[in-house]
Assembly symmetry: C2
Homo-oligomer: 351 residues x 2
Amino acid sequence: MQSDWLSQPAVPLNETARLTAEKRQAQLTKPPGSLGALEGVAIRLAAMQGVTCPMLEQVQISIFAADHGVVAEGISAFPQAVTQEMVRNFARGGAAICVLAKQLHTDFEVVNLGTVEADENLPGVRNQRIAPGTANFTRQPAMTAEQLMQALDAGQQAVARAVDAGCQLFIGGEMGIGNTTSASALACALTGMPPARLAGPGTGLDQNGVDHKIRVIQQSLDLHQGRLDDPLEILRRLGGFEIAALTGSQIACAQKGVPVLVDGFIASVAALAAAGINSAVKEWLLFAHRSAEPGHIRVLEALEAEPLLDIGMRLGEGSGAATALPLLRLACALHGEMATFAEAGVSERDG
Amino acid sequence: MQSDWLSQPAVPLNETARLTAEKRQAQLTKPPGSLGALEGVAIRLAAMQGVTCPMLEQVQISIFAADHGVVAEGISAFPQAVTQEMVRNFARGGAAICVLAKQLHTDFEVVNLGTVEADENLPGVRNQRIAPGTANFTRQPAMTAEQLMQALDAGQQAVARAVDAGCQLFIGGEMGIGNTTSASALACALTGMPPARLAGPGTGLDQNGVDHKIRVIQQSLDLHQGRLDDPLEILRRLGGFEIAALTGSQIACAQKGVPVLVDGFIASVAALAAAGINSAVKEWLLFAHRSAEPGHIRVLEALEAEPLLDIGMRLGEGSGAATALPLLRLACALHGEMATFAEAGVSERDG
């Protein structure tokens, strides 16, 4: 199982731009290193955008929504109907990510890949319905091979639209009741860690609920045992449409040379799959925040990722990435607009 | 030694506004707690501003600059001339904080309280010259009682100007070569911790430099021993004009009901002194970031402060606070603009 485009190479980072950006950072009127992580972010973005001074004016936020058959196992604190209710909330601008997108002047779209019941005509929502949710992966694979490809392609298509609009940074978000169970199962299969290290409360399970979720994930891993050694097959058996779309978007960004700002637990698990499918993708990923979902720290470790924020967010929808976006923009502004020691006539450090 | 205004009471927080803000947070379309620290920030700002939905459009950044006599002991990686050179860089808009203030659309001013050599007419720089730097506190008190009051008053005056301009949040920054040595000495005297736990590289000392700095601070603590039991007297003997101005600004903000976003190591030590002088000040302080300067974590612990960012910044100038400002603004926007469950027709959690 392989779609043609997935294995196409990523754009190589521009090492000349990285070096000129590093040189510029060292000349700015501040003690070297004193802007902390903002310095490295600006330099990485320079290497990605192939310029000494990167810009992040044009940012795309695409939210992928879908339902999960595994919800039948009672693994979520919220009812399944909330996925579609939140799609309507996105369309009306009432969700957290809508408020953030408006404040941050980003482009924003929602792609419905398969809620159980879908409205046809919601403003700002694209209907790319694959099925009314995935199958229950405690009993069978979550998707057919064709469904997986449709979901991956939906991510690629969102990136293609973003590139056409001049996108300088891509944020993918997700909505899908039950998707921390799917993401935890995926992370188990992709890393080999047991469910107890990766499953957490999601939208708000208590300890009994988390224990049940761990048993459900273990049962699924047992069912699919022996067929979990390829990242695409793992995604097909245990994933969700919206998670696979995030994976597809991350691979497509690397292939189009667009930096990705990765959100929280679900988006990071998607990145784990993306890096498994095409290892060069990792170079194009910036990590926004460490989620309060306890498994996220382990997924970040597996990705060798150092996120910018650690403020206890765990909402999804791309909200953590959007919240970190101003830090990236300030990093670019500082890098591009501060005076150098020579320009400002400021003395450098003593001998 | 006490100026009339310093002991005036702080404005009490508005507990009614806090409760209505908490109630509103609980109704927004997200799992409770899922916006992490952004929820508590919005609620605290509501209690400070006395409204259900706080706003941070009008923000003041005031930078206080001054020189330090203790620089004669060779405790800084950069020469003393850099303080004034950076004041010129502020005036020309080339410093980090200028770029941040412009990006964030804040008001911005620089107050020169006493660089060794001062230019008289720099745009955007107020000259309130107390002396050409403090005295070397390894040999005598850094300031006279009158000089200390002038510095504290300068902070109060900056807040008065900000209030006149409709300020909804105050950020105080500092510039003064040598001021991590002064701040470390102050923190030792205010907390009782030894210099080795509070002194660090500042703008970039190597380990030998840090060891020397520790000895200089210990020598100063020994000289002033027995006279370090009052926070104002500690500030007079070991402080700097710009640090005392920050302390004055923090006390004045609490008295005028203006939230303060505290920057890094120096501003937090100023807050330690402010809380020592007038304990109600602490309720008006929000902490922006944990600096890479190693003593900062201990000062934050002493203040029971939990900063938002931890990204290795250590520049001063108010730059860490400015970098955190977008998070506070997004917290307010989310709090004020998200739909409630009832408005959006979204189901609440099961059970």
